[in-house]
Each structure stands twice: as structure tokens, then as C-alpha cells.
């Protein structure tokens, strides 16, 4: 990836909540054209890191750049380059799906024709046309998740950051999202996603970062992680090896 453009860059990124260090000196880069998987146990700092990249949280230290723009110094430019899908698809309950997409399009400065075309395309793509004029409070979790993804794609971002994008989706929708992410990467966008489904990370991601207790413990391609994992071949074994898996043996003993 040495020739590709760096579209997400964190350098010595830190987030502190009082005494607690949620993200501790995390540095990595995501290049245009690649899908970067971000893994870690619960509470490891994945969402906090992603929120700092999306400009939702102010870092306590270090630098975050999106599309070449410093998220702290040039927040508007950085955010204009980025699409973000949160782990919880909280949407305005009293807006319809179509209105929401148009609203987001307006926020990202799309002109009216572009916005109308793009939102209709996305509604069709995500199979939301029938529900497009219903308010989102009548949507299922999966529909909200798809609407949230459509909203992130409405301005055709160079950088896409997704926090657990496949949670609550049916297999068809999950497959659709995987295909879209792959297409975006092929068109030169940088895609960063966090997931707990290691199979998705192993099959989809070009590179993977593993975070534990706020620190980035490993980052690289599957082959590079295998070398780190001292002979472990599956991502699950590598992940458990790096983040600690002794407690699982104990649980198995209790469940016997």
C-alpha cells in the first residue's frame, strides 16, 4: 500500500476520561482502496477511536486526519470527506427515510437534483423504497441500520467509517453491505469497520487492527498477523492469543 493515498491517519491518539485511558497512544493508517478491520474485546476502545475519527469525540491527545484534513483543526473539511455509520442507528423518529436522506444530503452540500437522484438510488439499493415515506420510528432495527448506511453514502464519501455495521441485519442485507463496502474500496475509498464477527474481518478486510485495553496490539494483513500469532492460523486464535483467552477455558469448565 506504499503507493496509495493515506485517507485515515491516527498518530499517538489518546482519549482520557478522568483517570481512565480509553484510547492509549494509538497510531495506524488506512489507505485509499482498502478495507481496514478494527477488532477488539468489549470496552477495548474501538468505538471511542471510531468516534474520534468521525469527529464525534475530541481527542485528549494525538492527531487524527481524515482525507488529509486534521479532524480537530479542520473539522468541517474532514467531516465532508467522511461517512459514518454508528453502532446504534439512532435516526430522527419523525422523519421519513426519504426526508432523512435529503436532510443529510443538504448537510453535505449536495445540490437538489444530485440529492434526489442519489437518495432514490440508495433507497432502491437498500430495498427501502416501499418504506421511504414512512417515519423511521416504524422501521425495524435492520431497516434503520440500512437507512443509516444509506445516509452515510449519500454524499459518496472518500472515507467510510462503520461501527459494527452488520449487527441486526439479515443475511441478504449483510451480504449487500459487504458488497457495497468492497465496491467502495475498489473505487478508491478507504473503509474502516469495527466488528465482532471475525469471519467477516478475515474474509473482507485487507488489513486488520486489534485493540485491547485502549492500546493497538497488532495491525497488518492476515499474513502479518499470523506471524505475530506465533503459528496460529485462524484470526480467532490470533485474536484470542493477543487479547487473552484464558477465561474461556474457565467458562467451559463451569458449563460442563
Amino acid at each position: 500500500m506504499s503507493g496509495a493515498t493515506v485517507l485515515i491517519e491516527t498518530s499517538h491518539l489518546v482519549k482520557r476520561y478522568g483517570e481512565k485511558m480509553a484510547v492509549d497512544d494509538v497510531s495506524f493508517q488506512v489507505y485509499g482502496g482498502e478495507i481496514f478491520g478494527f477488532l477488539g474485546p468489549n470496552g477495548a476502545g474501538k468505538t471511542t477511536t471510531i468516534k474520534m475519527i468521525a469527529g464525534l469525540l475530541h481527542p485528549s491527545g494525538g492527531i487524527v486526519k481524515v482525507g488529509g484534513y486534521d479532524v480537530v483543526q479542520q473539522p468541517v473539511l474532514a467531516k465532508a470527506a467522511c461517512g459514518y455509520v454508528p453502532d446504534e442507528p439512532n435516526l430522527y423518529a419523525k422523519l421519513t427515510g426519504r426526508e432523512l436522506l435529503r436532510f443529510v444530503g443538504n448537510l453535505y452540500g449536495l445540490d437538489k437534483a444530485q440529492m434526489a437522484r442519489r437518495s432514490e438510488e440508495l433507497l432502491r439499493l437498500f430495498d427501502l423504497v416501499d418504506a421511504a415515506d414512512d417515519t423511521t420510528d416504524s422501521y425495524s432495527h435492520g431497516m434503520k441500520q440500512k437507512t443509516s448506511l444509506a445516509a452515510a453514502l449519500v454524499h459518496d464519501p472518500k472515507v467510510l467509517v462503520l461501527d459494527e455495521p452488520t449487527v441486526g441485519l439479515d443475511p441478504k442485507s449483510a451480504r449487500l453491505i459487504k458488497d457495497i463496502l468492497r465496491q467502495m474500496a475498489e473505487r478508491g475509498a478507504a473503509v474502516m469497520l469495527s466488528t465482532h464477527i471475525l469471519e467477516i474481518a478475515q474474509n473482507m478486510c485487507d488489513r486488520i487492527g486489534i485493540i485491547d485495553k485502549g492500546k493497538l496490539v497488532a495491525a497488518g494483513t492476515m499474513d502479518e498477523l499470523r506471524q505475530l500469532g506465533q503459528g496460529e492460523s485462524s484470526l480467532e486464535d490470533i485474536f484470542l492469543g493477543l487479547t487473552g483467552g484464558a477465561e474461556y477455558a474457565e467458562i467451559a469448565e463451569v458449563l460442563k
Partner: protein, 584 residues
Amino acid sequence: MNYGPPFFHEPGLWLSVWKLLRLRLVIMMNGFRRAKIGVKIGYTAAALGFLAILGFILFISISLLLLLRSPQLPTEFGDITSLLESAPTILVSISAIGILMTSFSVLLQALYLSGDMDFLMSAPIPIRAVFISKLIQAVLPNFCLMGLFTLPILYGLGISGGYNFLYYPFVIIVLVMISLAAAALASLLVMVAARFFPARRLAELLGFIVGTGFFIFSQTSRFVNFEGSNQQMAGLLKMTTRFNQPWSPLAWAGRGLIYLGNNNWLPAAGLLVLSLVLAGGVFYAALTTSERLYYTGWSSLQNNRRKQKIKTTRPAEKTVLRQAQNPLAGFIPAPIRAIMVKDLLVYRRDLRNISRLLTPLILGVVYAIGLIQSGGQGFGGRGEAPSWFMQAIDAVLIYADVALALFLGWMLVANLAGSGFSQEGKNFWILKAAPIGARQLLTAKFLVSYLPTVLVCSIYVLILQILKGGTLVSAVISLLAVAFALAGVTGIYLAFGTVGAKFDWENPAQMNRAVGCLGSIAGMLFMPVCFTLFIAPPLLAGLLGFPTIAGQLVGLLLGGAACTAAVVIPLGIVEKRVAMLNEA
């Protein structure tokens, strides 16, 4: 691995009910234990206040009822024994109707919106226990509140009439049984209503109707001419006896209590047993039906009539056309306009918001009627005040329409600007992740609050000016004063609302707290100060013999400057806070 708990005994119904109620008690106690010291003191004071009110009402009831039973009274007002003996019936009826009405919204919340039903229904406890505990939880707060007034009066009636000691426990038994039956009926109504309307929408609708209805009733009651004359009192007393109908099961309970108190054992036993059995039967039948409706999924099954209606009435082309015809399109940047359109849509569609906005409008209309009825005339007084003071008062009254418009605007702005950011709630991530600067966001939120308010208040002022026959100049000056003053108060409320913005609320009422005590005081103080700046120069001009228009223009200048400062300074101070909003 074992696939079943080896020593699991199915718990009994009442043991399960107790477990569930104990859980609520534990949650309540935890909330109290972890609350701030100020909140703890508040709760303790409220509990002591409750007991004090209980004691006070009991004392007043005994004294009043002893007076009513005095032998001299019938000679003055006629025999009121029938009224006294219908008191238990009236109170039992009020309790039953009150519980039926108030339990509806509480049960809707508990059964459909609390989110714990799935967890409880999947637990190895009888489903009936879940329902009974929900009913008790729903009834208990309202029962206590009603008991605060009904129990002291009923006990006072017993004490003043020297009733049999069995009367006292039976008062509680009757009230509990009737309340439970009413709550069970309410749960049945909830099930039926939730079958046809989404629960959340139903809760919004209910909040809107109850809130607005109550407010209209409370405000329009000032126009009812009740002077407490003998004729009106007699009419009122006659109306209360209408509760005491022989066919009413609620009257059976009330009469049974009176017979019990007067040692008429046979009719007391007959009527009380009949009413208690009937209440128990209604409770059981409504409870089992509710359980069945809930468990079979009948009450959760949504019909899709609403969906089809929306589809036919709101085609995409119309929305596009409407947006293209937007008159603001040329003046306001697209992102700011988008936020404005979104906020106004959300406001319009959420009935809870409409209810909050209707309250000031109702007040505005009520006060306007009062102003028009008084003809905008000053107070005559007793002629002791100096003439210059009376002239000043009359001059101030000329601006009463401006004052009323500012009062109305102040209430609207407090709702709109104060919760400008908080109303985003958990959706704030959409705005925060979007490429919009803090100033743009503040501008959008300012305009969303200011434009509708200034529009409503301008129409209000114009109507009042026309009704009182004001001149064009006074109408223009009034409109300018209102526009300036509302801008100032919007700036203040928006600034305080930004600093105290809360995004994790569950109950929309919580978002109004963003302004805080200090913000409310600042907003309240700003309005009279601003009003004084507008009206003092014309008043002084009148007293000193200068043309009124000169004074009005100076007033506009002074007031306008103060209002501009109230917009620019507070919003300038909080601008940097916008980027840090919603960060723990």
C-alpha cells in the same frame, strides 16, 4: 452439560408478585441511595409534606364535618344529611374514574414502552404475576395521590359521625378493590387501543389531549362566573347527589360503608359483599382477558392502515416541489435551511412538542380576551394616586399588547430555543458528524426558534392593534419592539440551552431542563428590562413634553441595542462549546 435446573420449584402467584414488586422497591431505593444530597432532601421533604397534608386534610375534614353535622345548620341551609351520606359514594366514584383515566397512560407505558415485558414474560414466573405487579405499579402512585384526599375525608366522616370501627378498614378494602378493578379495565382498554394504534403514538396523542385539555379547562375556567351564591351552591350540591344512583355499583359500595358505619348490618353486608364481589369479578375478568390478548399477540399486532395513508398523501414529487418553492431558499445556506426544515418537521409531527407550543398560545389567547374585555383601560383606583402616576400607568397600558406578545413569545422561545440542541437527543451524531461549523449550527437553531415565534407574535400584535384601533405607526413600532426583544431572549435561552444540552433523555420533558435555573432567571429578567428600555423613553417624552414618536424611536434604539447584545454576546461565548457537545 445439564439442560434443566435440577431443583426448580415453580413459584406461586403471590410470591412472584412480591418478587416483582420487591424488584421495583430495590430499584427505587437504589435510585434514592445514589441520588445527590439535594435530591435526597427533596424526596424526604416531599414525603414529610405528604404526611403533613394528610394530617391537615384529616383535621380540616373532621372540623368541617362536625360543623356540618351541628344541629343549628339545617335551620340555616336545610337538611344536608343526604349530601353527607353520599360523600363515600362520590369519593369512591371519583377514585374509580380517576384511576381508570390515569392508569391508562401509566399502563401503556408499563406494558408497551418500558421495554422489560419481554424479559419478564420469558422468566419462569406466572404471566399473571407480571400483569398483577404491573397493575399494582400503575395504580399505586395514583392511588396514594387520591388517598391523600379521599381517606382523610372518609375517616373524618367516620369520626364526626361516630361510625362503627369496622367502617375504617372497609374504607381501605373498598377503595383498593375498586381501584384494582378500574386499573384492570384500563389495561384492557390499553390492549384494545394498542391493537389499532402504535403504542408510542398513542402515548403522544394521550399526552397531547390530556395536557392541552387540562390547560384549556384551567385557563378558560377564569371566565366562568362562579360567585358561590346560595343558588349556585344548591345546584352544585344537587349535582353531587347524582352520583348516588341506586343502580350504580359504585353507589352500592358507598352506601354499604354508610350502613356499616351506622351498624345496619344486613344492608351493609349485602351491599358491600355485592360491590366487592363485582369489583373482584371485573378485576379477574379484565385481568385474564388482558393476559390472553397480550400473550396471544392480538394486542401487539399492528394494522397497516396508517402506512398506506402516508404513502398516498405524501408522494416524493410533492416534497421536492415544496422544497423548490421554499421562499427561504435564496437567503439561507442549504445546511442551515436543512436543519430548520428538519426541526420544524419533527416539531410538527411530535404531538408532545405541539402540546408544549400550544400552551403559550392558549395563554396568549386567554390574556388577549381579558385585555380586549377590559378595553385596555387603566385602573380607576381610589383617586389617591398622583395624576402623573395614573397617566404613566395609562401610557404603559397602551403597550399592553406588546407586553402580552412578549410574554407569549418568551414562553414559546423558552420551549424552542431552550431545548434547541437537547431536542436532537440520541440523533445528535448526525449533526455532529456532518460538515457544519458551530456558527452555522447556532444560526440554524436560532432561526428555528426565532422565526416561528416572531411570526406568531407579530400576527398576535397586529390582531390586537386592529382590535384596539391602533395607528400604523404604533403597529410598526410595536412589531419592531417585539422582533428585537424576541431576538434577545432567543439568544439568551439558546446560549443557556447549549451549555446545559442533554442528549440522553428518555422522557422528552427532560430536554426542557437544559436551560437550567440560571438560564430561566436570565430570560425572565431580560424581558422586563428590555420592555422597560422600549417604553421608558416614550413615557418620559410624554412627561417632558417631547413628541411621542421621538421617545419611541429612542426606545427602539436602546432596546434594539440591548437585544443585539443579548444575541451576540451569549452566543459568541458558547460557540466554542458547540464542538464539544455530547462528549462525556
